[in-house]
């Protein structure tokens, strides 16, 4: 029973990892395999419906929507990964520090985290990105600023539990300094949880990024970005619905794959969750 469940889980994970890997590969190769130039349009082919020549139709400037989706995948993916890693790094560092040092440091860092948590995340991200102004890096900063708190909470709780465990005390009696204990013993224990959360976050992050782009806060024309493409599509909803359908579909599929992968990673690494 257990053995079978394990292999089932593993199989599912491998399958999804391959799928996700395929998407990442597509994103990396996107600009090279795009059938047409995603930036240069042919104004005479403005707003063409899907055909064999233009699989997903063309936009107002006559640019191939399919090529733009492919080319846009790269920036969507790399920015999302960058943001999740940034959030995880800051959050884990703060959380470990709070959890291991305890006392005043812990109180202070926890209060700071509380303050950040007091803002509804998307509200805060929109405001920060809005205040800093449009731009990819500003968006990364805004979303990173919002999302690190969950990692901080997570690692703090884990670190506080761990630091009282027997093997840590043994290491401490063995003369290991706090810094060494942190890196050598506590960090490795926390990593699986952090990885789980990262994998669960990717889908959400991707949607948040696209949402900010949709509001015109992230990508800048003519860069093909899914959220921004959807924004552009709005004016042509009736005259060119394909502009709206396909980038959204691409986003949906990607988010579903990464969410499934996240669930599967959680099942593998962190069985206590469910």
């Amino acid at each position: 029973m257990t053995a079978k469940g394990l292999t089932g889980k593993r199989l599912r994970f491998i399958l999804l990892a391959v799928l996700a890997g395929g998407l990442v590969l597509l994103a990396v190769l996107g600009p090279y395999i795009a059938p047409q130039d995603p930036l240069l349009g042919d104004a005479s082919a403005s707003l063409q419906p899907p055909s064999w020549e233009h699989l997903c139709g063309t936009d107002k400037l006559g640019r191939d929507v399919f090529s733009r989706i492919l080319a846009g995948a790269g920036s969507s993916f790399s920015l999302t990964f960058l943001m999740v890693l940034l959030a995880a790094l800051i959050g884990t560092a703060v959380g470990l520090m709070a959890g291991c040092c305890g006392g005043f440091t812990d109180s202070l860092l926890s209060r700071v985290t509380d303050v950040f948590l007091a803002f509804p995340s998307s509200v805060f991200a929109i405001a920060v990105a809005g205040i800093l102004g449009a731009g990819v890096l500003n968006t990364v900063f805004a979303l990173g600023l919002v999302w690190w708190t969950r990692y901080a909470r997570l690692t703090r709780a884990a670190a506080m539990q761990l630091r009282e465990r027997d093997f840590i005390w043994q290491a401490r009696f063995g003369g290991a300094g706090e810094g060494r204990i942190l890196l050598r013993y506590i960090l490795p224990e926390v990593v699986p949880q952090v990885v789980t959360t990262i994998s669960l976050d990717i889908g959400n992050m991707m949607m948040s990024l696209a949402g900010l782009s949709f509001l015109g806060l992230a990508a800048q024309p003519p860069a093909p970005e899914w959220g921004y493409m959807l924004y552009e599509s709005r004016t042509y909803m009736q005259t060119a619905p394909w502009m709206m359908l396909f980038p959204g579909l691409a986003l949906l599929i990607t988010v579903i794959v990464f969410n499934l992968l996240g669930d599967s990673v959680r099942d593998m690494l962190d069985p206590s969750c469910r």
Partner: protein, 334 residues
């Protein structure tokens, strides 16, 4: 566990409500500071925006004078204290764009956003409670699998895309929902659906888990063994047992609803706080953005406070955990 409990910590535990209020005020102070700091990151400052929004390109000298007048040359902390002082008097500054007081603008738009969020919340509850319970009761059956599959896709749909799809298929293709008019039930249908659907999907999953947890408990198995009818167990025991996590969910949904409202209001042209802030961002109207963030945080905090108090009434064992402690789980859909 082995940490010693300070008198402070003991007080904290005993006077739950009071301690929550104190920490609420502390966090509020922090929120105001963070809001202020974030606004000061803006690439152009108040003096500059004051002129630019009036179509004047100020000379460096004029700019410097205005900065002096507005107190923008003082240290950040002094500026903050000054700002806080005004804030406590209810003065959030003036919108660069309209010259109107930010507070007035916020109070005018808030009811619209609250109506939208409230309706979306109601719909979410109506959808997710029965479906979540159904999925839990029918665990492993086709209906459960179906509900879970749909809700899984649902949480992965970006709300702005959903809004466009609903608009396209329901309003354009089927002509079901009118688009004009505000404050009227009919024109709320699409924005409310857009807000409620992804949220419901996310909550169906969590409510199902809450019920399943409750159904795994000894008392449930005992009641079942005694042959008590399923529906009676459901209404008299399961529901009350699962209520606490559900209330927590409700509190958290305030955040998702308010955040989601920004995009949804923009798409449907709903004159609430969300579309207000997006417009403000467009014209770099910092005082409005600032006021918006602050209000949102306060509303969210209040929702958290209320949730805590309700949970505490429902289940006194929960009290020492507190809202923000329990809240490490996924925060809503987005």
């Amino acid at each position: 566990m082995t940490r010693r409990t300070s008198p402070f910590a003991r007080f904290w535990k005993r006077h739950f409500i009071l301690s929550r209020l104190i920490s609420f005020l502390l966090v509020l102070l922090g929120v105001s500071f963070l809001t202020f700091v974030v606004s000061s990151l803006a690439p152009s400052d108040g003096a500059e925006m004051y002129y630019l929004s009036r179509g004047i390109t100020p000379s460096p000298q004029l700019l410097e004078e205005t900065r002096e007048q507005m107190g923008l040359n003082q240290p950040l902390l002094v500026q903050y204290l000054h700002w806080l002082q005004n804030l406590l008097r209810g003065d959030l500054g003036e919108s660069y764009n309209f010259g109107e007081s930010v507070l007035r603008q916020l109070t005018r738009k808030l009811p619209n956003t609250l109506a939208l969020a409230g309706a979306a919340f109601l719909l979410t509850a109506l959808l997710s409670l029965p479906l979540g319970a159904l999925a839990a009761v029918r665990r492993g059956k086709v209906s459960d699998l179906l509900i879970r599959a749909i809700s899984f896709v649902g949480v992965s749909v970006p709300n702005f895309w959903l809004a466009l799809l609903l608009l396209y298929f329901l309003a354009v293709q089927l002509g079901l929902f009118p688009v004009i008019g505000t404050g009227v039930l009919k024109s709320m249908a699409l924005p409310v659906l857009t807000l409620a659907l992804p949220l419901s999907c996310s909550y169906v999953r969590q409510i199902r888990t809450a019920f399943l947890e409750e159904m795994g408990k000894d008392y449930y198995i005992g009641l079942k063994a005694r042959g008590i009818p399923g529906w009676r167990i459901f209404f008299s025991h399961l529901l009350s047992g699962a209520l606490s996590p559900i209330v927590t969910l409700a509190g958290m949904s305030v955040g998702s609803l308010l955040g989601g409202a920004a995009i949804v209001e923009t798409i449907f042209g709903w004159p609430g706080l969300g579309s207000m802030v997006v417009d403000a961002i467009r014209v770099r109207d910092y005082p409005v953005i600032q006021g918006y963030v602050l209000w949102m945080a306060v509303i969210y905090l209040l929702a958290g406070l209320v949730t805590d108090l309700v949970c505490c009434l429902l289940d006194p064992r929960q009290r020492q955990k507190g809202f923000w402690r329990r809240n490490v789980r996924k925060e809503g859909a987005k």
